[in-house]
C-alpha cells in the first residue's frame, strides 16, 4: 500500500511538472540567449581565426531557437500561397542566409553587455512576447522575442528591436516587391542580395 502511494506520488509529480516545463517561454528564450552569450564570451574563441567556429556554434543555437519556416510564412502572409513548394524551400533558405549574413557581425560585436529579461506577456494560448533589453554603456536597446509553441517547444518567430518588428518590416518590403513582381523575381532579388553580402 505504502509503495503504491509513493509510486503514485512520483507519477503525479512527473505528470504535473511537464506543463510547467513547457509553459515557461521566458526560460526557453533566456536559456538560448545565455548559450549565445556563452559562445560570444568564450575566451578560447577570442582570436579572429576562431570566428568561423563561433559562427558554426551560433548557427546550431539559432536553429534550435528560431522557427524559420514560421518566420518566412509570417513575412509573406498571403503571398506564401503564391509560392510553389520548391520556391518556398528556397525562400526559407535564402531568407535565413540573408538574416544570418546581415546580423552576424553585429552579434559577434557584443560581448560584455548585460541582457535583462524582465517581462513575459502571454499574447494568446500558444504565443508569448518575451521582453528583454541589452544594456550598453551609452544606451539601452529593447529587444522583444515573440515565441510560439510548436511541437511542445517554444520557438522564436519574430524579433522586435527598438519597437520595430523584423517580420513586419520584411513583410512591407516583400509586399512592395510582390505587388509588381512574381515570386520567382523576388527569389532572384534575394539570391543577388545574399551573394552581395
Amino acid at each position: 500500500m505504502e509503495k503504491r502511494i509513493v509510486v503514485f506520488c512520483i507519477l503525479i509529480i512527473f505528470v504535473l511538472s511537464i506543463p510547467v516545463y513547457a509553459g515557461v517561454p521566458m526560460t526557453t528564450v533566456e536559456a538560448s540567449v545565455n548559450r549565445v552569450l556563452a559562445v560570444l564570451r568564450d575566451s578560447k574563441l577570442k582570436s579572429p581565426a576562431a570566428k568561423e567556429k563561433k559562427k558554426e556554434k551560433l548557427r546550431i543555437i539559432y536553429k534550435d531557437m528560431f522557427d524559420e519556416i514560421e518566420f518566412s510564412k509570417r513575412t509573406l502572409t498571403r503571398n506564401w500561397s503564391k509560392f510553389s513548394p520548391a520556391e518556398r524551400v528556397e525562400f526559407v533558405n535564402l531568407f535565413e542566409q540573408l538574416l544570418e549574413k546581415s546580423y552576424i557581425d553585429k552579434i559577434l560585436d557584443y560581448s560584455n553587455e548585460k541582457v535583462d529579461f524582465y517581462k513575459e506577456n502571454m499574447t494568446s494560448n500558444n504565443t508569448a512576447e518575451i521582453q528583454t533589453k541589452i544594456v550598453t554603456s551609452s544606451k539601452e536597446i529593447p529587444i522583444f522575442y515573440r515565441v510560439t509553441l510548436k511541437d511542445g517547444k517554444w520557438k522564436v518567430y519574430d524579433v522586435v528591436v527598438e519597437n520595430v518588428s523584423l517580420v513586419q518590416n520584411y513583410r512591407t518590403q516583400f509586399n512592395d516587391i510582390l505587388a509588381k513582381d512574381t515570386p520567382a523575381q523576388l527569389l532572384d532579388i534575394l539570391r543577388k542580395k545574399v551573394k552581395a553580402l
Partner: protein, 310 residues
Amino acid sequence: MKKHLTLIVLFIFLAMGCAHSPSTSSNALPQANSSSQLILLASNADEIPAKSSDNPIDAIDNEYKDDQNLDYADDTFKEEKVEIADPLEPFNRAMHQFNDKLYFWALKPVAQGYKIVIPEPARISVKNFFSNLGFPSRFLSCLLQTDFSGAATEAGRFTINTIWGIGGLLDPSSGKELDLQKQDTDLGQTLGVYGVGHGLYIVWPVFGPSSPRDSIILVGNYFLYPPWYIQPLYASLGVSTYELVNYTSLSIGDYEALKDAAIDPYVAFRDAYIQYRMKQVKARKAKLALPTSQEVNPPAADPASPKKEI
C-alpha cells in the same frame, strides 16, 4: 487515512503550482504526451532548409498542407499592420539617397575621427548635456498630453541634472535612488495621442523620415530648443552639427546594419519609422489611460515608461 490525506494535500499543492499559467499548462499537457513523436517532427523541420536531399519539398509541403488557408496577416499582433500613404515617393527616394550619401561621405568619417579623439564617457556626457536641453519640448509635450506626473518628472530631472549633474553633463536623476526617467515624448506624439494621423510620408533632407504631423517637432524645436537661440545663425548651426556628430559617434554601425539587412532600404526605413512612431504614441496613450501605472509597476516593466537615457 493519514496517507490519503497527504496524497490529497500533495495533489492540491502541485495543482496550485500550475495555476499561475493556466493557459499554457492546459494546452501543453496534451502535446507533451506525444512528445517523442513531436521531437521527431521538430528535428525534421529543422533540417529541411539545411540539406536539400531526398525530397524536402514534399516534406515542407506536407507540413503545411493543413493550414494552407491560414491567413497570417491576421495574427495576434494585428494592430501592428501599419501602412502610410507615400504619394511623394520619387522625391522621398531622392532625399533618402541624399541623406544616405550625407551619412557615408560626411557624417560618418567625421564621427569616426571624433570617436578616436574623444573617449566614450566624454561623448556620453555631451549627449546628456544636449538631452538635458531638450527639456522645454518634453515638458510642454507632457503638459499638452495632460501627463502631469510626466511633466513633474521632467521638471525634477531638469533641476537635478542641471544643478547636481554639472549643467546636464551627468544624469544623476535616472539613477537607482531617484529613478526619474526621461519622458521620451515630443510634439508629434502629442498630436498622435489626440488622434492626429501621419497623413503621408516625407523624408526631409538632413532630418530624415517624417510626416506632416511629425514635422511639428522640427517647428517646435525651432522655438523650444535652446541651441537655436544662439546668435548668429552659423554658430547655432555649428552647435547642432556638433550635436549630430557626437550622437553619430555613439551609434556608428546601426544605420549600416539596418541598411545591409534590407532588400529595399527605402521601404525598410519607411516601415521602421512608422512602426517606431506608432508604438511610441501607443505607449503614451497607455500611460495616460493608467495614470497610476508608474506607482504600480516598476518603470522597467512598464511599456509606457520612457526608455532610460544615460
